[in-house]
């Protein structure tokens, strides 16, 4: 399992970013090994089609799960096609807070619950 979280900064103590594709950093965590990799999102300033391009980046980095507040339609189809599970967290806090919520099983998986879309 490799979980990706959009972040405003390079560390897990930085705030969780409220936009998926445009977040300045994507932090990837592998719970089994405890490995944390922070990836600068060079696509964040792109003019269009950012969502799908970030999904491609996630695929290249073997991401299996994503925690995000909101997903655009284009990114959603790409995530679905890539087999990445998306968990919605609309709260405010740090990247660690988002991961805690996920581990505690408090987040809804996109597409699994019709009310969430």
């Amino acid at each position: 399992m490799r979980i990706a979280v959009p972040s405003s900064g390079p560390a897990v103590t930085d705030p969780f970013d409220t936009r998926f594709g445009r977040a300045p950093y994507i932090i990837m965590v592998t719970p089994e090994t405890g490995e944390t990799v922070s990836l600068q999102n060079t696509l964040a300033a792109g003019s269009g089609g950012v969502g799908p391009q970030v999904v491609q980046m996630l695929v290249q980095n073997q991401v299996t799960h994503l925690i995000a507040p909101r997903i655009g339609g284009n990114a959603e189809t790409a995530l679905f096609a890539a087999g990445i599970s998306v968990f919605i967290w609309e709260g405010a806090g740090t990247v660690s807070d988002a991961l805690e919520q996920f581990k505690a099983g408090k987040l809804t998986e996109l597409g699994k619950n019709p009310q969430s879309s």
């Binding site: 792109g46 003019s47 269009g48 089609g49 950012v50 969502g51 799908p52 391009q53 999904v55 491609q56 695929v59 284009n74 189809t77 790409a78 096609a81 890539a82």
Partner: protein
């Protein structure tokens, strides 16, 4: 000769001026009226008659899944996110494609060909004896605004007198419309907003060295705000249209004021002649 009717902002009465000008001029000259406000085309609402339809298309990639080796080169090349290469498939977003053709160039196996994607529609009609109307309509959700405007422009004959209804603003769409025009009629209103936007669109016209004239709509006792600017920049003010509920009501219900009222017809005809004269000065 091409005359654009523009306003930095919407709602200044640009459409009112355009339809009246077209109708008045077409009483003695053959006129082509082009709706280049392809995101929100409106001119056709003022005219009736059967229209001929033609699709506007752009080229988008088509991938041969049999020969594609999922190398990812097309996905890396595309700066618009229109192609995404996953482990087992290539995902496409034709709506994001700018149609640059780069993906088919970089594909090492020749698996990418191109197909047409509809991004807009052209409507051509002859609503009045000597008036031809060309309307471009952008498909909802498409980014190819300038492509559709270019398609409208491709319908003109060199000898035509063309009136182009320009889209609001000063971005790509307005530029695509203004480029190559012989004259630009700027419609404004005497408010701080009107003046601000007039200044912007005037700068754009200057960039293309297009001579301009101004129409002040909803004109009243406060016109001086615009008049000072025009005097300062040496821009001729060609017409004042007073604020009038009757005009608003007629316009709002799809009628053209100069169709019923010969006085207005005469005024708009004169406005048209002034534009043609000023365009010729160039």
């Amino acid at each position: 000769m091409q005359i654009a009717i523009a306003s930095g902002k919407g709602g200044t009465g640009k459409t009112t001026v355009t339809v009246n000008l077209a109708l008045a001029l077409s009483s003695s000259i053959q006129v082509t009226l082009a709706d280049c406000d392809v995101e929100e085309p409106n001119l056709h609402l003022f005219f009736s008659g059967q229209a001929e339809e033609e699709e506007v298309t752009v080229l988008v990639p088509e991938i041969d899944t049999g020969t594609c080796i999922l190398c990812g080169k097309c996905g890396q090349f595309c700066r618009y996110g229109a192609l995404i290469v996953l482990k087992d498939q290539v995902l496409q977003y034709p709506k994001l494609c700018h149609s640059c053709g780069g993906c088919s160039m970089v594909c090492p196996t020749g698996s990418i060909s191109e197909r047409s994607e509809v991004v807009g529609v052209l409507h051509r009609s002859n609503p009045e004896p000597s008036l031809r109307l060309i309307t471009g309509t952008l498909c909802e959700g498409s980014i190819h605004t300038t492509t559709v405007i270019r398609a409208v422009r491709n319908q003109f004959n060199p000898e035509d007198l063309v009136l182009l209804d320009a889209p609001p603003g000063t971005a790509c769409a307005a530029m695509e419309t203004l480029e190559g025009c012989d004259f630009c009629l700027l419609v404004t209103e005497p408010t701080p907003f009107g003046l601000h936007d007039l200044t912007l669109i005037y700068k754009l016209a200057q960039l293309y060295h297009i001579p301009v004239g101004v129409v002040i709509n909803r004109s009243d006792t406060t016109d001086s705000i615009v008049e000072f600017f025009c005097r300062d920049q040496n821009i001729p003010i060609l017409m004042h249209i007073p604020f009038d509920r009757t005009i608003a009501l007629q316009q709002g219900s799809g009628q053209i004021i100069s169709r019923a009222d010969p006085k207005w017809r005469e005024q708009f005809f004169k406005l048209g002649q002034d534009c043609i004269t000023l365009a010729g000065v160039r």
